[in-house]
């Protein structure tokens, strides 16, 4: 999984500077999200399934 160093780097890429006091909490939460994300990526999804709400004009 990821650690605080990874989170610091990700935050830098996203334009965020995270207070060191918050890093562990953010890391724990991001790990939980990535576990759910892994479940999403393991699900078979055909290419034609829409990735977003379709905009009808």
């Amino acid at each position: 999984m990821i650690d605080k160093n990874d989170v610091e780097l990700l935050a830098k890429m996203a334009g965020l500077k995270i207070d060191p006091a918050y890093l562990q909490g953010v890391t724990d939460n991001l790990c939980a999200l990535l576990v759910q994300g892994a479940l999403l990526m393991s699900s078979p999804v055909a290419p034609e399934v829409e990735p977003a709400t379709v905009l009808r004009l």
């Binding site: 996203a14 995270i18 207070d19 953010v26 939460n29 999200l33 990535l34 829409e50």
Partner: protein
């Protein structure tokens, strides 16, 4: 003259409105009595962030004047209500449970749904406590304190609309308006033992409310009976073009048809995830409701765990995006419980967000296929009854899991696909628990009618909780 300062005399929104309209009950007398009750009990419960005494008495006076002049003040005449603190109230800052929002300008107008029930004669008495930015299921707010469950003051009222639910449960208001993104009406309704309605996504305009997740946010009412819930919902309906998510549908009244026979609808109990993640009390509550509705079958959605994961990821990412600038500049001003989740959400890879949306379409298709065979579905609203305030873990699916993010495991997959859901309270010798009556899109009438049947059978009921 009806006396309303004792729980036994509280008779519900519809009956109160009838009495006020007939001139048998003064709205001012009623509101004064309710404000006294709020003054006495709110220190124990912490439902309200602000009690709007002057506004409430002024509006009540206007109602009484209309009646005296022979005018009809509306179907909710004199009925006291509250709104979650993410609804705009004219002249007030909409905090959405935060301190960061205190730098915003006061709202120039009431939220649209607030305007609609006020036009129907209802009287706003205050704004109600919530989890910061609606990102929570327990209403334990670091800035404004926790809301206590009237059924047991040591327990959570649920969230994020906890103040709104607790106010109804304790007889402080006849109804409240809340919001539900992943369960924030259904969870508090379950924990506090009251009725709640999360309508179809896009049914009720969100104009004048502070958002959380634009493509998951729903607004809806809490009330003490299905008749009240239907009457309030009917007053809320109507399209508004200022909400991009609102769908232009005709108003479809439910209250006049509540007791009309719906025939013998095919109702199924949701199995699989919705069985495994519930406890014995929740399953027993569903069984009790199912007996009234002549349930003959069960249904399983294979994709529920993925749907819940998708809602979880999308919520975090959307919240992180919405609050990005504040997280960048003022992270120290957030409730720590929401701050770290939002910061993590801001870092979620785009690939997961897009996958979550694709999973959403697949799950929607799976659910709609089930509605070809069934008219209604049933599931518990929460995996357990109300936990203790500060309780770190709950037991879900045979495992001890962190409380706060897991209370919504049974609500999240269903709101993810925007279905209309009535939560009915099933009382027990101990604490209540809610059951979700789930209808196809736009069939709030069917869910409400089924809820009315369950209520008439005595399975779902409300009783005012004297805080203890």
């Amino acid at each position: 003259m009806i006396v309303l300062d004792r729980p036994g005399n509280i008779v519900g929104a519809c009956a109160i409105a009838d009495a006020v309209r007939r001139g048998e009950l003064s709205a001012v007398t009623l509101i004064e009595s309710r404000l006294e009750r709020i003054h006495r009990l709110n220190p124990l419960l912490n439902c309200f962030t602000e009690v709007l005494v002057e506004r409430a008495l002024r509006m009540a006076g206007a109602i009484d004047a209309m009646v005296a002049d022979g005018h009809d003040p509306g179907p909710l005449a004199g009925v006291p209500f509250g709104v979650k603190d993410n609804y705009d109230v004219a002249g007030k800052i909409t905090t959405a449970g935060s301190t960061i929002n205190r730098t915003r300008d006061p709202a120039s107008a009431d939220a649209l749904l607030l305007q609609r029930v006020a036009r129907a004669g209802a009287v706003l008495v205050g704004t109600q406590n919530m989890d910061e930015f609606a990102y929570g299921f327990t209403t334990e707010n670091a800035h404004y304190g926790a809301t206590h469950n009237p059924c047991d003051l040591k327990r959570s009222a649920g969230g994020s609309s906890g103040g709104s639910a607790a106010a109804v449960a304790a007889g402080l208001t006849e109804f409240s308006l809340g919001t539900d993104t992943n369960g924030s009406i259904r969870v508090p309704a379950s924990f506090c033992g009251i009725f709640g309605l999360k309508p179809t996504f896009g049914r009720l305009p969100r104009t004048g409310t502070f958002p959380f997740v634009h493509d998951l946010d729903h607004l809806g009412p809490f009330a003490r009976s299905t008749a009240d819930l239907a009457a309030i919902y009917d007053a809320l309906q109507g399209y508004d073009e200022d909400d991009a998510g609102c769908v232009a549908r005709e108003i479809e009244l439910t209250a006049p048809h509540l007791k009309r026979s719906q025939g013998d609808p095919s109702v199924a109990i949701l199995d699989g995830w919705f069985h495994d993640m519930a406890d014995d009390q929740g399953r027993a509550a569903v069984d009790a409701v199912a007996r009234v509705l002549n349930v003959r079958s069960r249904a399983t959605f294979a994709g529920t765990e993925q749907a819940r994961a998708a809602a979880f990821v999308l919520t975090a990412a959307s919240g992180g995006n919405l609050h990005f600038e504040a997280l960048r500049m003022s992270a120290d001003q957030f409730d720590p419980a929401t701050r770290d989740r939002l910061l993590a959400g801001a870092l979620v890879p785009a690939n997961l967000i897009l996958q979550a949306q694709r999973i959403r379409h697949l799950y929607h298709a799976e659910v709609m296929e089930a509605f070809r065979r069934h008219d209604l579905l049933l599931a518990p609203a929460t995996p357990c009854h109300a936990p203790l305030l500060g309780q770190p873990t709950i037991r879900v699916g045979g495992k001890d899991v962190p409380t706060r993010p897991n209370i919504g495991v049974l609500t999240q997959p269903l709101s993810f696909v925007g279905l209309p859901i009535v939560t009915v309270p099933v009382q027990s010798p101990g604490l209540p628990i809610g059951v979700q009556i789930i209808a196809p899109p736009w069939r709030e009438d069917a869910a409400l009618a089924a809820a009315a049947r369950v209520e008439a059978a005595g399975i779902a009921s409300f009783s005012v909780a004297e805080p203890c």
